[in-house]
Amino acid sequence: MGLQAYLTLAAIVFCLGLFGTVTRRNTVGILLGIELMLNAVNINFVAFSRFRGIETGMVFTLFAICITVAEVALGLAIVILLFRTRRSAMADHIDWLKG
């Protein structure tokens, strides 16, 4: 398969993730969307890296994965924190700050 196929796949996944973040009501759902987006980026990196024959792309992916994990952990902690006070994980309800 050519590079283009990989990239297109990544683009599709990326946009799916974006769609998820924009449309999900649940904060966790939004997080899942973000994971998809990051996942798409990783495909991109690895694909470029492989087709360029340069391993730094893979390194990039490694970093990205690690950071993502940290990010997700922090994000979920915030969600849980909010959950404790608001009794809801609905992002729609988290709109005390606005205007």
Binding site: F14, V41, I54, T56, G57, F60, E71, L82, L97
Partner: protein, 467 residues
């Protein structure tokens, strides 16, 4: 590099101090961070450019050093103001707070000098993730976690977009070295353009350009004020450094392709930021929106695409640092005294606490771009840079919206000066906070009265970008 290591050491020290003195309500961590930061800041002024490490992935050029000083000073001032916060809760968890802040600072520090995409990305994330944490630091306040959540979610999406952009850049250049970007762009590779556009969106989130700004008011309103003061300046500055590195440095004539979009972003940001600030009753939100508008002005400097203009963006950042942080500090003082960030808390402030009111006035005037305070020169230089590039429309738009900005600044001023106070007595003001306000006021006034050295420093820092 040594300063950076010092910063890492400081972070470790604070962490250790926090580990060994857990949950003790004192401010030792804060003082340690403060003195450490002051020391480092002082040290940073003796650093000379030229250091280059990790096969040119980390280069200390004048721009990096300028930015690092800015980060250090702003962090020091913020920590100083933090020491003025009242309440045990904060002091008890001081170690976490300061470690996170120092970590974020470390990220900015590296970011400023990074010439490699991997390093840049990691530094970017190192800067961002503690910010999410810090913005939700007052976890007992339920809006704090809401602000943090919004910041986090939008930030994560933006990180993803940024990283996606990086992937394309890497794909086109075949290397993670940033030096290869201009060449790729110049060769007209569409994916290079695509990558840079995606990165631009990611960075636009960080600097809060419209329409990537929407997290700003919510997060600012929710977070603890001294941190917001810093959040409103340092990460923005870092974002601009990224812009310099990726879009201006060595770009040559290829950089001109960014002029229309950046101009549009700038115009949109100025207009929307200023207009949305008008109806705000919460001063923190007002400053948040006004901060968004300021980003727009700085973007004009970017759009002008010249070393001069870039220098003026740096100058603007410094002026903005003093003015905006100072304003937030006053908000902090009034907020802790009156237990409200609403405009009504400012009624008759001039008669209750004249010094506080005067400092606020000075900060507001500086933000509004009035002569004899720093903000005036900043706006002026930006407009001049725009006019030099024959961007009259943008300069005019900026000038006209400055009037709108002055409207809401003056409304706040009228609360302080024209309204009669509802209650008597001074607003209590902690000594460290007072010092921080004084420092900012001094900065604003000194810059306003004698901008020459600052201008020279800023121009010096960006001189290399276009060579």
């Amino acid at each position: 590099m040594k300063v950076m290591l010092g910063l890492g050491g400081l972070m470790a020290a604070v962490l250790l101090l926090g580990l060994f003195k857990p949950a003790v309500p004192d401010r030792r961590c804060g003082w340690l961070s403060l003195f450490g930061l002051i020391g480092l800041a002082a040290w940073s002024f003796f650093v000379r450019p030229g250091e280059s490490l990790f096969s040119d992935a980390f280069v200390l050029d004048p721009l990096a050093i300028f930015a690092q000083r800015l980060f250090l000073v702003s962090a020091a001032v913020s920590v100083l103001a933090t020491l003025g916060l009242s309440g045990d809760g904060f002091a008890r968890r001081g170690a976490e707070y300061h470690v996170a802040l120092l970590a974020s600072l470390l990220g900015m520090f590296v970011l400023a000098a990074a010439r490699d995409l991997v390093l840049l990305f990691v530094a970017f994330e190192l800067m961002s993730i503690p910010l999410y944490f810090l913005s939700g630091f007052q976890k007992r306040k339920d809006i704090a976690s809401e602000g943090a959540l919004k910041f986090f979610l939008v930030g994560s999406v933006s990180s993803a977009i940024l990283l996606y952009g990086f992937s394309f850049i890497f794909g086109v250049t075949g290397t993670t070295a940033m030096g290869a970007i201009p060449g790729a762009l110049a060769s007209g590779q569409i994916l290079a353009k695509l990558g840079l556009v995606l990165v631009l969106a990611g960075v636009a989130f960080k600097i809060a350009a419209v329409p990537f700004h929407m997290w700003v008011p919510d997060t600012y309103e929710a977070a603890v004020t001294p941190f917001v003061a810093w959040l409103s300046v340092a990460p923005k500055a870092a974002g601009f450094i990224v812009v310099f590195r990726l879009y201006l440095e060595g770009a040559g004539s290829a950089g001109y392709m960014w002029v229309p979009v950046v101009s549009a972003l700038a115009g949109l940001t100025i207009v929307a930021g200023n207009l949305m600030a008008i109806p705000q009753q919460n001063v923190k939100r007002l400053l948040a929106y006004s901060g968004v508008a300021h980003i727009g002005y700085m973007l004009i400097g970017i759009a002008a695409m010249s070393a001069n203009a870039a220098g003026m963006v740096l100058f603007y950042l410094v002026a903005y640092l003093f003015g905006n942080m100072g304003a937030f500090f006053v908000v902090q003082a009034v907020g802790s005294g009156e237990e409200t960030d609403s405009m009504s808390g400012y009624r008759g402030l001039a008669q209750r606490s004249p010094v506080l009111a005067l400092s606020m006035l000075v900060f507001l005037l500086s933000l509004g771009g009035i002569p004899f305070v720093a903000g005036f020169w900043a706006k002026l230089f930006i407009f001049k840079a725009a006019i030099d590039q024959h961007m009259y429309g943008l300069a005019l738009l900026g000038a006209v919206l400055t009037i709108v900005a002055l409207y809401y600044y003056l409304v706040l001023a009228s609360r302080m000066y024209i309204d009669t106070p509802e209650k008597g007595g001074r607003v209590p003001l902690a000594a460290p906070l007072f010092l921080a306000i004084l420092f900012c006021a001094l900065g604003v006034v000194v810059m306003g009265l004698y901008p020459e050295p600052w201008v020279r420093a800023a121009l010096n820092a960006t001189a290399g970008l276009f060579s």
